[in-house]
């Protein structure tokens, strides 16, 4: 039953492939933003290799474009990426209690929406080597995609870029739908999330709630309400209600 490190890593590498491809496409547009700031391809490569965030990096770029003070930049990054705080907290529950500190520090390097999606889909405790496997192609795709975006600008046809960028959403769907099929609570939450997320863009009163802020607010409110109304059983699987 116990998987060797190498096998776990290979499995992670395979699962990371669609993420890496999707990142490559999305990072292109991030690269165009970086170019507007005057970043060199190497700087774009570096910032994406170290940050591994889409909305988070955009937010940082906006601050840099406004010539922000360093403390302001740090604050923007904190707010725009607060959902990773939640994701890492959720992920901490998928790690063995005695998992060494250095593994925790390494895992923290690449907690992204998509890798988190893969991680939560794994049964039981996580093998850190599986996660390291999943990191490789997304890191390569994200950082080189940003650099390529800076170098090539809008060289690819728009329809190819838009088709490739859909890979990410396809992955989100593949993560949330199977549990939604098993649990009516999750299904209801997913539908409610779709609806409220759409409302935030459509209703003038809520239109200030965009991007990362929308994700944070809706996550806190909806997941909080579900936790009160439908607490999960011991192992975090089935529901009481």
């Amino acid at each position: 039953m116990i998987e060797t490190r190498g096998r776990a890593m290979l499995r992670g590498l395979r699962d990371g492939l669609p993420i890496g491809l999707g990142y490559l496409a999305v990072a292109f547009s991030l690269g165009i933003q970086a170019k507007n700031l005057g970043m060199t391809p190497f700087q774009g490569f570096l910032v994406s290799l170290l940050c591994n965030a889409s909305a988070g990096e955009y937010a940082g770029f906006t601050a840099i474009a406004g010539n922000a003070a360093l403390a302001e930049l740090a604050l923007v990054m904190l707010v725009a990426n607060a959902r990773y705080l939640l994701m890492s907290a959720a992920l901490s529950q998928k790690l063995r209690e005695d998992l060494p500190f250095y593994h925790r520090l390494l895992i923290a390097f690449d907690v992204t929406d998509e890798i988190f999606g893969l991680a939560v889909a794994q049964p039981g405790f996580l093998n850190p080597f599986y996660l390291y496997g999943t990191f490789i192609l997304p890191l390569a795709g994200w950082s080189s995609g940003t650099a390529l975006g800076i170098v090539m600008g809008s060289l690819l046809p728009a329809r190819v870029v838009s088709a490739l960028s859909i890979a990410l959403y396809g992955m989100f769907i593949a993560v949330i739908i199977p549990p939604a099929r098993e649990s009516r609570v999750v299904l209801g939450l997913v539908l409610l999330s779709f609806g409220l997320s759409w409302l935030c863009g459509a209703v003038p009163l809520l239109s200030g709630l965009t991007g990362s802020a929308k994700v944070i607010v809706l996550t806190l409110v909806l997941a909080g309400a579900a936790a009160v109304l439908f607490p999960v059983r011991e192992e975090g699987e089935g529901h009481v209600a």
């Binding site: 910032v47 890492s88 989100f172 999330s193 997320s197």
Partner: protein, 101 residues
């Protein structure tokens, strides 16, 4: 005040790493609170759903192509298709539809 680009990159990298590393290193025991456990269980589904829609419809050149990808992806995932087949099918349907629309 003007800052070196590498200083900016350093600040960005450190801030985001701290956000990710704190919970993973500080929370070492199973969380007992039923509320927190339930909350953390529900978090990813809400977060991913919020980020998927309506973004998927806005990411394509033609909104209908994104909508078709959403529907196809949901149906395939519901029928048990894995990450890669779902992702590739969504890309393919967008590429095909945008070719004609």
């Amino acid at each position: 005040m003007w800052h070196n680009m590498y200083t900016y990159i350093f600040v960005m990298a450190v801030s985001i790493y701290v956000i990710r590393a704190l919970p993973l290193t500080l929370i070492r025991r199973p969380i007992r609170s039923r509320f927190i456990r339930s909350f953390l269980y529900y978090v990813p589904y809400v977060t991913l759903a919020v980020m998927t829609f309506p973004a998927i419809v806005q990411a394509t050149q033609v909104p209908a192509a994104g909508a078709a990808a959403l529907i196809l992806g949901v149906v395939l995932a519901w029928l048990g298709a894995g990450l890669f087949p779902v992702a590739v099918s969504c890309c393919a349907v967008v590429l095909i539809l945008e070719w004609f629309l």
